[in-house]
Amino acid sequence: MNNDNLGALFQRLPVETYVVTFTVILWIMLSATAPNFMTVDNISNMMRQVSISGIIAIGVLCTIIIAGIDLSVGSVAAFCGVIVAQLLSHGYGIPISVGLTLLAGVLVGSINAAGVGKLGIPAFVVTLAGLQVYRGFALLVSGGMTVGGLPPQIKDFSRGTLLGIPNLFTTMLVVAIIVHYLLSYTRTGRYLYAIGSNSEAARRQGIPVFRMTLIAYVLSSGLATLAGILLVSRLSIASPSMANAYELQAIAAAVVGGASLFGGRGTVLGAVAGAILFTTMGNGAVLLNIDPFWEMVLEGLLIALVVYLDNLQKKRQSGL
């Protein structure tokens, strides 16, 4: 087989192939070297952990597909986590507290979309501002303190399982299936990819570009809000400093899973697989007693490598 055929073969493999392969290899290696890795406790712990970063990654993916980005998700998760905890601790019922908080998340997404789509400010700038602003709001609303005194049902949800699968993981699966359906089978999804690929062409074909931008950013903020609520359930408190740097992990998960920062490419399966990979790396580092600082370095290098490959492919595509 010559080089060309090999290249064509790689082209035809699903984009998620690399991340899934890499993750499986890592699992095998960890099973062999860390005796505590393949235990029921450790696996279900990882499943709970990955649910939150996975949900955020799925949301961010939607903005990456339209050639945007959402850097505010970590702060939004913390801000909305604080809001829901405040509401709950003031005695509002769970449906009202969660409903109002999700509404706040939708509002944040609409503001981001307006900044990007109506004012034409780069998504990077709009959401970088958001990263700072919502972290600030989280600190203001909580007075810089952790918020506790939550009803026990909150804690129970994240402890609970359904058919042996942690509720948190089931929640992520439901989110993943819905967004996968949206992206792969509906016109909305098709238009998101079209806009990310060539927004001018999409506009000329009569696609409502702003409405699609709104959908992408509302999904991103909305899912970050959901993740914030789940995080509160998991920790049984809300801290204004929680979910720190989650935006980087989420973006990295999506990109490692085959999303292109140039837009037009990326899948839910890839983003979830990316999230699983990073969770596994973190878990493995703990089990093998590797200095967490090394883990940060490794993660960073992995992101750099993947973005470099993405760049390379884009260049080859445009014949440069």
Binding site: A194, R204, Q317
Partner: protein
Amino acid sequence: MVFYPKETTLIVALSMGPSMKPVLTIRNVRKSFGPVEVLRGVDLDLVPGEVLALVGDNGAGKTTLIKHISGVYRADSGEIQLDGKSMDLLSPRQVRERGVETVYQDLALADDLTVGANIFLGREPMRRLFGVLPYIDERAIRNETASLLDRIKSHIPAKSKTVARLSGGQRQAVAIARAIYWKAKVVIMDEPTAALAVMERENVIKYARELAASGAGVIYIGHNLVEILEVADRIAVMFRGTIVHLTTAGETTQEKLIKYMTGYTDKEIAA
């Protein structure tokens, strides 16, 4: 290479003469950008089934004129009618919905989508799972795309997943297939071969003829006169914002066209 004999369509168009109703009529269209009058009263008719070439020097106003047709610009005065109805207040999107497609050299396709997804972009056929859950009918898209590409005899590799790796000519084919499939009444091609290799130019000419044969009126802007004489039924020469000469392709030569393009009058050319 199979060409649709343009003489046939030409003879049909001419013999039907006045009885062949134009699909597009442009009457005394004027347009100034600030102090500069770019269009100084343009008159032009386009009949179904013809390729009308629009030639002229750089800056003559060709692109400006077709942007009035596609709804990008509004004329200061004058009128453009499609099938006898004024298009004056229509947005680009509404113009397109009424059957006027513009094939752009660039910016026309979404690289990360498949050929079929591009042809059907914005008008995807839908089905419902269990009569409820809507989803895009990919099979219909695939089948229609295959027969369409077969029809215009374009050699787009079947295994190409996205349009990213297609050549310039193949990309034109996709855009033209889109116009054919959606039964455009008017197709505008502004310098469609500008960035193409010789072989691919031949294909684009073939596609333009195919479009005309399918009943569309085609406006074809170009600078290469050999190509223009090959593709066009009629040729309109534009000079400084007006149509100074209108001829059938059979009745003219490159030399004559160049003279009109550079501002010679009828009298000077006759002499």
